[in-house]
Structures are given as C-alpha cells and as structure tokens.
C-alpha cells in the first residue's frame, strides 16, 4: 500500500541518516545474539517434556486399562456367573423357607391334634380313678364280710386281697398315664409356643435379609447394565485422551518449526547487519543510503512480523501442551471417579462396595439358615421325645387291658365262691355282682384309654416318620445351600478383593499422573522466556522501522529489497506473512501463488485425502 505519510527529506549523508544507520547496526547485532540464544536454549526443555509425555501416556494407558478391568470385574463373565448363582440361591432360599414353613405348619397341626387326643384321655383316666375307689371299697367290704363268715369266708379274704391289689394297680397305671399325658401336653404346648415365636423371628430376619440381598443383587444387575454402556464411555474418554496426546505431539513439533523461523530471521538480520556494516558514509560505494534505509525498514518490519508470528506459534504450542496435558489428567480423574461410581464403589477409604454389602447379606442369610437348621433339630428332638414317651405309654395299654381281664376274673371267681357259700354268702354274692359290673366298666374305660393311646401313637409315629423324611430332605438342601453360599461368598470375596486392589491402584495412578502433569506443566516456562526475549527484539526492530520510515517512507522497493528472502522460506506461514506485508505496499507478490497456478504435483489420489491436507502420497 503506498504510504500516505508526507515524504520526509533525508538529511545529507553523514548527519542523521549516518547516525541512524550506525545506531541500527548496534541494535541489530545484540538482537541477533538474543535470537540465536533463543533458538538453542529451548530444545532441552522440549525434550524433557517429550520424555515426560511418554511417561504420562504410559500411565494414562494403565489407568484406562485398570478402569476397564474394574468394569470387567463387576460386569464380566465371572460377575455374570455370580449374579446367576445368586439369583438361583435366592430362589432356593425362598423355596427352602416356604418348605420349612409348610413342614412346620404340618408339624404344629399334628401336635395340636395330639393335644386334642391327649385331652380325650382325661375322661377314661378319671373313670379309672373312680374304679380305684370302688375297688378299695369292695376290697374293704369283702374283708368285713369274710371276717363275719369266719371259717366259711376264708376264700373271700384272698379275694379281698386280690381286689385291693388290683385297686393299687389301677391307681398306679392310671396315675402314670395321667402323668405322662400331662408331661406330653406341657411339652407339646411349650414346643408350639417356641416354634411359633422363633418362626416369626426367623421369618422376619430371613425376609429382611433376603430383601436386602435381593436389593443388592438388583444393584449388581444394575451395575452390570451401566457398565455395559460405561465401557463405551471409557473407550470414548480414552479416544479423547489420545486426541489430547495427538495435540501435544503436534505442538511439540512447533519447537522445531519456530526454531527454523528464528534461524530464518537471524539470517535475514545478519544479512542486513552486514549491509549496514559495509556501508561507508564517506564514499557511498557500498550502496545508496536512501535505499539502505528503506531496506532496513522493510527487513525489520518483515522480521518483526515473522518473529511475532513465530513467538506466538511457540507460545500457543506450549499453552496447547499445558492445556492438553492438564485436560488429559482431568479426563483420567473424571473417568476414575465415574468408574468408581458406575461400578458401585464409592467409599475410597475402605474400598466398600455393593459387593461387600452383598457378601454381608449372604453371611447373614447363612446365619439365619443355621438358625433354621437348629430350630429344625430342636423340633426333631421334641418329636422324638413325644414318640418315645408315646412308646412308653403304649406299654401301659397292655397293662390296662390286663387290669380289665383281671377284674373280670376276680368277678367270676367271687361269683363262684359266693355260690359255694350258699345262703350264708349272699352278701358276698352282692359284692361279686358289683365286681362283675365294675369289670364291665373297666373294659369300657380300658378300651377308651387304649383307643386314645393308639390314636396318639399312630399320629405320633406318622408325624415322626414324615418329619424325619422331610427333615432329611431339607437338611440336604440346607447343606447344599450352605456349600453354594460359601462358594458364592468366596467368588464375591475374590471380586471384592480385586476391586479394592484395583481401586487403590487406580486412585494411586491418577493421583501420581495428576501430580506429575501438574509438576511438569507448572515448571514449563519456555514460552514466557521466549515471549520476553522476542518482545525485546521486536521492540528494537519496531523502533528501527519507525525511525527508518521517518527517514524514508515505505515504498514498492520492498519487493526488490526482500526478494532474496523468498528462497529461505520453508513454511507456508512465512510466505503468508511476507505476502501480507507486500500487499500493504501495493505489491502483488508471487511468493504465494494461487493454487491453480501451482506446479502440478503428480501425486495425491482422492483416497489420500483421508490422511489430511498436509499429506501427499505419490
């Protein structure tokens, strides 16, 4: 663009211009030194960052791998198997609970039936007590009558003794049966009360535990579902981290690119410095001072712009490295947090998880099962005792039946003896008649007691027999469930152990990665040093440009002055900056040729474009 500023008349050489040229020379030389220093001092720093980056990448990969392992631990085939087994186990437990309750209900019904039957014994046993009193009375009466008859009644004395003996036997047996009846009734009553109370407690405990285990199981299933989609998220985050790393790798190369730009600037300034050095104010043999002033302005303006761009690129690259590395650490930390939350592990201090909770629940279930088994054993013991007692009581039935027979015989004997005695033994005949009637009653009472006892015995035997079979069946089920529970608990323990171990390792890795990235990025100051030094050089160059333009305004000479620089450029950005300044001077530069005018590179096929604009495959 042509300068609109008024043309300033340059003082004759040897005055201001000469001083200015000499002054610029003295400014450009240290600037060159500064830029050379810049080009050489940042490489080690970048190499160190590069070495750390490999460590970050490695750690990042390990974190992703651990997150995947954690997800695998709670949703992989092993976890799926545990879920299936737990489901089956819960079903078995519920079925077991239902069976034991059903069995228990039947047992209780039977025991209640036995209580009823035992109650039926009361009336015949009371009858025996009456019989005992009558027999005593008859014995006494027989003795009195026997004494009254003297010699004639001797046989009746023996009869009286038999009746008395019989009365004692009746009393003793009926009292024993009565005692056993009472003992059984008490025992059954106690058992029923205990069973009902403990059943209610066990039901409550088992139901609560099963509900809790069921809830945790559902949580496990839910974790499974969440993990399925979370694995995709991990993959996505891993992809994003790779993206961060890709940006870092690209930014790291900016160091070499800006180094080249600095070298090109140094070359341009060295060339200018040589011209300034060679200029002789005395004879002007080394060039036109007006032209040199213009060229100095052009070179400094262009190099200041190139330097600004290079410094800006480098600073941008370092910021990009810092931002991407921090972003990488942040993503890994977030991924870890999400992983812990998704896999149901939220207590980082204890490593507590739903797996631990379900293990606890399963442990409680096992304890309740043990209680059920114990209660079942107690019921079994009670039933056995009832059965044994009834066996004992059954023995009394024979005795009682013997008593009936005995009374019958005594009655017959007394009738015969009364008949032999004749009229004198008429009173004894009455007694014999009474004993006979009693024997009939005895048979009735005996039958009632015997029948009741047999019924009780029958029920008890059935109860004991069926209960034993069912108990064996349920006992085997409990044993299987306990074994299965132990295996599941072992699997859960392994799973929990792996999760806790991964959790600790994962947290440690993320923390170390974050700290190392923070440490590395916190100490990264190459861009600040570069910015400071380049600002200094740019300020010097800008002063020269201002002073030069004051002496000689910018002109279209730019093109000729800077033609030699065109060949140094290797980067598109350098050419763009050159062209931009050329345009300001109203010059259509040929450096950056339109694309359609570019020499054809017989290379890229359409397929190659998949690699990006900066790639050509020949």
């Amino acid at each position: 663009m042509p300068s609109a500023t008024p043309h300033i008349t340059i003082p004759p050489v040897g005055s201001n211009s000469e001083k200015a040229l000499a002054g610029w020379r003295s400014v450009i030389t240290p600037s060159i030194d500064t830029l050379k220093k810049l080009a050489g001092t940042t490489e080690d720093e970048f190499l160190q960052i590069g070495a750390q980056m490999q460590d970050f990448y490695q750690r990042s990969q390990e974190i992703t791998s651990m997150a995947n392992r954690m997800v695998e631990a709670v949703s992989g085939p092993q976890a799926q198997t545990v879920v299936e087994r737990l489901r089956e186990m819960m079903g078995n437990m519920e079925a077991y609970l239902s069976s034991t309750r059903s069995q228990s209900h039947e047992n209780c019904t039977m025991l209640e039936r036995i209580l009823e039957l035992l109650d039926h014994l009361t009336e015949p046993l009371d009858g025996f007590q009456k019989m005992y009193k009558i027999l005593r009375m008859l014995s006494t009466s027989t003795k009195i009558e026997s004494s009254r008859l003297g010699e004639l009644g001797l046989g009746f004395h023996t009869l009286a003794m038999d009746v008395e003996k019989l009365s004692h036997m009746v009393h003793e047996k009926s009292a024993s049966i009565q005692g056993d009846r009472q003992m059984l009734a008490d025992m059954i009553g106690d058992t029923l009360r205990t069973v009902r109370t403990s059943e209610a407690d066990q039901d409550r405990e088992l139901s609560t535990t099963l509900a809790s285990a069921s809830h945790t199981l559902e949580e496990l299933v839910s974790v499974n579902d969440r993990c399925t989609s979370f694995a995709t998220m991990i993959s996505s985050i891993s992809g994003e981290v790779s993206g961060n790393l890709s940006e870092v790798v690209a930014s790291m190369q900016m160091h070499d690119m800006t180094r080249q730009q600095f070298e090109h600037i140094v070359e341009a300034l060295e060339c200018l410095a040589a011209k300034l050095q060679g200029f002789s104010a005395a004879d002007h043999t080394n060039g036109d001072p007006h032209r040199l002033i213009t060229e100095t302005g052009d070179v400094c303006e262009l190099q200041s712009a190139q330097l600004r761009h290079a410094a800006s690129e480098l600073c941008g690259a370092v910021r990009s490295i810092v931002d991407n590395l921090r972003d990488m650490a942040g993503k890994q930390a977030r991924m870890t947090s999400e992983t812990l939350s998704t896999t149901g592990i939220t207590d980082s201090t204890t490593g507590g998880s739903f797996v631990g909770a379900i293990s606890d629940d399963m442990g409680t279930v096992t304890a309740v099962l043990a209680k059920c088994t114990l209660a079942d054993q107690e019921m079994s013991a009670t039933l056995k005792k009832v059965a044994d007692t009834m066996q004992e009581v059954t023995g009394f039935v024979t005795d009682i039946e013997d008593i009936g027979l005995e009374i019958d015989l005594i009655a017959l004997n007394s009738q015969i003896k009364a008949a032999h005695t004749g009229r004198e033994g008429a009173a004894l005949g009455v007694l014999a008649e009474a004993i006979k009637r009693l024997s009939v009653d005895a048979v009735t009472q005996t039958s009632a007691v015997s029948e009741a006892l047999l019924q009780i015995n029958h029920v008890t035997e059935r109860l004991f027999g069926e209960a034993s079979q069912e108990r064996e069946h349920l006992g085997a089920k409990v044993a299987t469930m306990e074994e299965e529970t132990e295996q599941i608990l072992a699997s859960l323990g392994t799973m929990n152990g792996e999760l806790v171990s991964l959790l600790a390792a994962l947290n440690g890795k993320v923390q170390t990665l974050t700290e190392r990235i923070e440490e590395a990025t916190g100490s990264m100051d190459a861009h600040e040093r570069v910015a400071s030094l380049t600002d200094e050089v740019m300020s010097r160059l800008d002063v020269i440009v201002r002073e030069a333009r004051e002496l000689e305004p910018a002109s279209t000479e730019f093109k000729d002055n800077l033609r030699h620089m065109e060949e140094r450029y290797t980067m598109e950005s350098e050419r763009s900056i050159h062209e931009s300044i050329a345009r300001k001077r109203g010059i259509a530069s040929a450096i950056v040729a339109p694309k359609d005018a570019a020499p054809e590179v017989p290379s890229s096929t359409d397929a190659d474009s998949e690699f990006g604009d900066n790639v050509d495959l020949f």
């Binding site: 490489e43 970048f46 190499l47 590069g50 070495a51 980056m53 490999q54 990448y57 790779s242 790393l245 890709s246 790798v249 690209a250 930014s251 790291m252 190369q253 900016m254 160091h255 070499d256 690119m257 180094r259 080249q260 290797t570 980067m571 598109e572 570019a598 020499p599 054809e600 590179v601 017989p602 290379s603 998949e610 690699f611 990006g612 900066n614 790639v615 050509d616 495959l617 020949f618």
Partner: protein, 121 residues
C-alpha cells in the same frame, strides 16, 4: 516381529515425537541425526521404511533419498518426507528423487500411523 523404521531429522525433539508415535504403535525405531548419519546406518542395516526431514545438515533429505535408492540394501523401501516445506515444487523434487509420500509438519500421530500402514501394506 516388529517392523523397523528409520527417522532422520536434525531436530532431536522431532525425532523424539516420531519415535514415540512409532513405538506406541508397535514399531521399532532407528534414529539418524542427518542425511549422512542415515546413509551410514542404512548401508549396513535393513529397515522397512524411512521417514526423513528435507532440510538437514551434511546430506539433506533429497540427497538421502537418492543415496538410498542408489544403494542395494534398502533400495525399494517406502520413503516419506516429513518436513515443514509445503511447496509443490519441492514435492515434485522429492517425488523425482524417489520419495513415496510427503507429510508437512506438524504431523498428528494417527495421521503418521495411517500413512505408514498404507505404504507398508
């Protein structure tokens, strides 16, 4: 066995980034600090591919390509130029010297790996 790729660049940081990218993707890497160093190493070491800068001291990228193509051991390997130079004229020179492809810096790791996979088949 992992394929061996040589990276020739006078910038240590660029060699570092290329090596990092290649090693992360399972390749073995041989480094050379310039064209001359590369030619010496390639005279006795068979590699599967060469990635070289254009502007290097001693022997530049084009000289390196010509030297490799004139040799026997690595005569037919794919050679990718990895350079800041983007002018089509330079690319034509590279192609004429025997380059397989041209990547303008900065490269992205996934881009470089995709190109390597393509040229190594």
């Amino acid at each position: 066995m992992a394929k061996l790729i040589m990276t020739a660049d006078d910038s240590a940081s660029v060699r570092q980034m290329v090596s990092f990218t290649l090693k992360q993707n399972g390749y073995d890497v041989l480094e050379a600090v310039d064209g001359k160093d590369a030619l010496v190493k390639l005279s006795s070491q068979k590699v599967d591919m060469l990635i070289t800068d254009l502007n290097m001291p001693n022997v530049d990228g084009l000289g390196l390509i010509r030297g490799v193509r004139a040799g026997a051991l690595n005569k037919f390997i794919p050679i990718i130029m990895l350079t800041t130079e983007s002018q089509d004229g330079k690319k034509s020179e590279g192609k004429a010297a025997g380059a397989t492809g041209w990547i303008v810096k900065p490269f992205k790791p996934e881009q470089l790996i995709a190109v390597i996979k393509k040229v190594l088949g």
